[in-house]
Symmetry: C7
Subunit: 220 residues, 7 copies
């Protein structure tokens, strides 16, 4: 268990923020030269209206997300309606707890931020390797999350627009990342309250938020 938590603490930063008109997921993903710029390895789409950002052991995140996708689809089939974000979270928390209690398996080495928009509006949750989960308006996990949390406590407000949240998210990542310029290491996605659809930001969009962030927070 301690090992699983340590794996999370060493992972690169991931954030989930909830604003007036939707939610934002953001992660740092260090890419090496020669790596193909592809979809994020740390932001996953569980359903149209639910996304996940991970910190820790990525293959474990993938396994959990795959199970969450099946859970979500099953909900569609059984009840003919979209799954609640909290239901997905509880499902992931129970699954994670199970892997701490039974012999023959190891706990999952990953924490997940689950963000989405359902009939109750937008919400952001996170689950840790023990299976604990909490609902937050803003949450960060991974290496540097203490520093980011403090920054968010000072700057975040739930009445912020998605655009301003995006700027805040980019700034948060710059805070703890080794790379203080460029945005190729920043991946973001959003789900707005109207469309209820997850949309990944293009590199251009992220770059735009980054330039605003630099102005706003007076980065040298």
């Amino acid at each position: 268990m301690e090992y699983a938590l340590e794996t999370v603490r060493r992972g690169t930063i991931a954030l989930g923020l909830k604003g007036v008109d939707g939610v934002i997921l953001a992660v740092e993903e260090r890419t090496r030269k020669l790596q193909t710029p592809t979809l994020s390895q740390k932001i996953f789409q569980v359903d149209d209206h639910v996304g996940v950002a991970a910190a820790g052991y990525v293959p474990d995140a993938r396994v959990l997300v795959d199970k969450a996708r099946v859970f979500s689809q099953t909900n569609h089939l059984l009840y003919d309606e979209s799954v609640d974000v909290e239901s997905v979270t509880k499902y992931l928390g129970d699954l994670t707890q199970e892997f701490t209690q039974y012999a023959g398996v190891r706990p999952f080495g990953v924490s997940l931020i689950i963000a989405g928009v359902d009939r109750r509006g937008s919400s952001v949750f996170f689950v840790d390797p023990s299976g604990s989960y909490l609902q937050n308006e803003a949450v960060s996990i991974g290496a540097g999350s203490d520093q980011v949390t403090q920054f968010l406590e000072n700057n975040f407000s739930s009445s912020t627009s998605l655009q301003d949240l995006s700027v805040l998210a980019v700034k948060s990542i710059y805070l703890v990342s080794e790379d203080k310029v460029g945005v190729s290491h920043i991946r973001m996605a959003t789900i707005d309250n109207k469309t209820k659809k997850l949309r990944r930001y293009t590199e251009e969009e992220v770059a735009k938020f980054a330039s605003i962030a630099k102005e706003k927070f007076n980065v040298p």
Copy 2:
């Protein structure tokens, strides 16, 4: 086993009190800034007339409560009547004992207070990780429970009204909590003998009891 008991001893305080007109469950739940104020993570509703308060490892409490809910629903289906509070308690005790005796699982790292009102009236029980359970008029579990128990031994009477019990519960939590002001870290629920329905207190209600508590116990 020792590890499970230690987990409970380190958990934040939880209380169950039985008065003349019903029962009270109260827990301290430290919330961080940015956390969404939601339902309690440590007070669970098992059935209309049965609630649970937990100290220790919360994901384990969740798993046990989920099983208690199924047990309770099954009782409705089989016997067409509400399950007894003691039956729920014995079920949880037997389940917990099983996890101490068989290899391949670890004991549950949580103690639970089960409170409710059934045809025999109101009652408060608690179960520990060994599977032992007892019926009490007032019980507290978690870090600081010794101090709270002593306080209750001096101040509690089973002939107290729910309102006075609520004041006592708030005071008990202030006794051992780091936060001596505010009530955002105090969650409470009650089941009164008439309605036999669990009802969670609003933050305003808790605040009211807190201000009475401060007067009554002469808090500086």
Copy 3:
């Protein structure tokens, strides 16, 4: 195994006595303030005519007694007659032995006194965590049982009436209990040869025996 036996040796005292007109079960049960005075946690009814007193790990006793109840009911169904006390004892001894021989489980951490009245008359047995069982006219288990046994060897006679046995039992518990006054920590039950029904003593009855005991044995 050693651990299981140690658990028994540390348990509070339990006694079983056989007299001319029936059997007595008695246990010490320390109750804390605020605990609800309820049924004994250490004297169990297996069937109308069979009772059990336990010393050691109470949740294990509960599990064993539940199994003994099913065994007893099954006997009613299969043979249309009440189960013999020795059969219940052998069943519990075999079950307990099994948990010492197979991997994946731990031995039961409890010793049981099985007392009852069947077609052969009254009898008292006890089973230990190894699965050994013996028939006795008077037996005590748990912390202080050596001292109590010596006391009984000097004072017990199988030709004693139930009432005198009850006095002896109360005195035995006072011998080794920290509480030398009051009877709230003493629980007793009896099965007499005529009714063949287990009956729990009220606190008043126990108090009566206690006052006789104090006179008879000249307690200061």
Copy 4:
């Protein structure tokens, strides 16, 4: 395995003797005061014509004897004739061997003397925790068996009558028992060649053999 053999070596003495007109089983059973004088815990009847005496861990003996009884009954049902004493022995030896070879169980901590009269006449066998078995005319197992064996080598003859064997058995037990007087700690059973039925000796019978033994062997 070593542990199982040690358990046997520490058990109280048990003997099996074969004479001209039948076999004798004898054991020492230390009874505490207050213990009910009942059937022996160490001499078991497997079938009309087959008895077992045990040294070591009694609950294990009970389990083995229960299985031998089923084996014997099955033989009656399948072949409509009484089981051979050697077949019972081989069955017990094979069962015991199995518990030494497979993981997940511990070896049986008991040695058994199997004595009986079948169509081939009378015979005495013994099985140890390894599953080894041998046929003997006289055998003793448990603490002090070396001394008893030496005594028997000097005094036993297979042409002895059952009565003289009984005297020899009582003397053997006195040799190694702490109790040099009284017979309440000596239990005996016999199967004679004519009736082929196991019969337990009464305390009076044992006392008679004891007084002859004391005369004959000139006990002070």
Copy 5:
């Protein structure tokens, strides 16, 4: 896990490169004298359009490739179309992750480069023993991969033709191999965007690239 990663780090070098008109796989395979020149042990064909190059424990690679082949064939049968290269990669990553989480198995001691051409064009992935996978334009695994990666960062461009990539691959292997001459220790395969078929290079082809490499990079 550490052991599995170490096995990979000690394996001989393997490369995957993606150019304008297809992909290249190249491995070093030290052959001893007397060994029959056969197909590569480290470049595998999974499907017509998908190849795998391995570094680490070859039997594990074989097992994984066999499973990938079945996966690929099943895809043909179920959907009547060729499997995507990323699907094969994810399948291998999930399989590898599973072997890190469940008891009773050891993690696979091998990293794999998966290269192919599907309806989305050409792509190169790699999977490590943890189940992590990434998409790259150029990737090398095994002993010396750091040095080769640096070389590729300086010399590789995704707009390179297959022929120039082949020269680069040969040069890469010479960089870290003990054998700086000859090509019997170099095995290569290619899948071009037009044919979408894996084709292994003959020793003559490799020799041709080697001689160009020596000229181009001015090898003494």
Copy 6:
């Protein structure tokens, strides 16, 4: 495994010899006084034409021989002909190997000599705890087998008659046994080429060979 081989090395000597007109099995079996002279515990009949002699842990030998008997009977049923001696040997070797490779069991602690006469004539094999088996003209196993083997190398010839082999076998046992006189500790059996039936020697026969042996080898 080492433990199993050590168990064999400590067992009493067993021999198998092949002569012109059949095979001989011989073992030393130390019997204590009072033991009933019965069939050998170490020479087993597998089928009419196949015998086994064991050194090591006798209960394991018994289990293996029982399985060989079933194997042999199954062969009769399936093919309507007697099983080959080598087939029995291979079966026992494969069984023994299996117990060295799988967890949850311990290796068999016994070596076996398998001797018999089948359609190919007479043959002698032996199997050790690893599952290795060899065909020999003369073989000895157990404590002292090195000394006996040397003696046999000097004195044995495959053209010897069964009678002379028997003398050689007795002498071999005397060589390493503590008992240099008497034959109660020597058990022998033979299968001659004509009858193809195993026949155990009577004590008188063994005594006859012993007296010849003493003359022939000039024992003082």
Copy 7:
């Protein structure tokens, strides 16, 4: 695993050689006096056209060969044609790999040389305990294989006739064997390209090759 490889390194030498007109298998088998000269324990026939030579733990080789025989027969039944030598090798390699990856079994402690003639001509492979396999023109395994390999590198040519290969094989064994004269410790088999049938050499044939070997390599 290390233990399995060590077992192979300590085994006596085994060779596989491929010439112009077929393949040769040769092993050293130390036989003790009194051992019956029988078929080799280390050269196995898998099918008419496929043989195996083993170094290491012989019972494991036997188990693997038995499985290879079933595999080969199944191929006949399913496809109505002889199995390829490489298919047998891959099957043995996969089986061996499996025993390194799953708990509850130990790796096979043996290396195998698989030689045969199929529709593609003759071939020689070998498999080690890790499941790795390679195709060679000449290969030796077991104690002394380094020395033999060096000898073969200097003297072997794939254009050699079977007869000259046989001489080379005998010489190779003399190189590392303690027995420099006689051929009773040398076992050989051949499969020629025409008959495609495995044939074991008689002792006379081996002796002939030995005398040529001594001349040719000038052995003193």
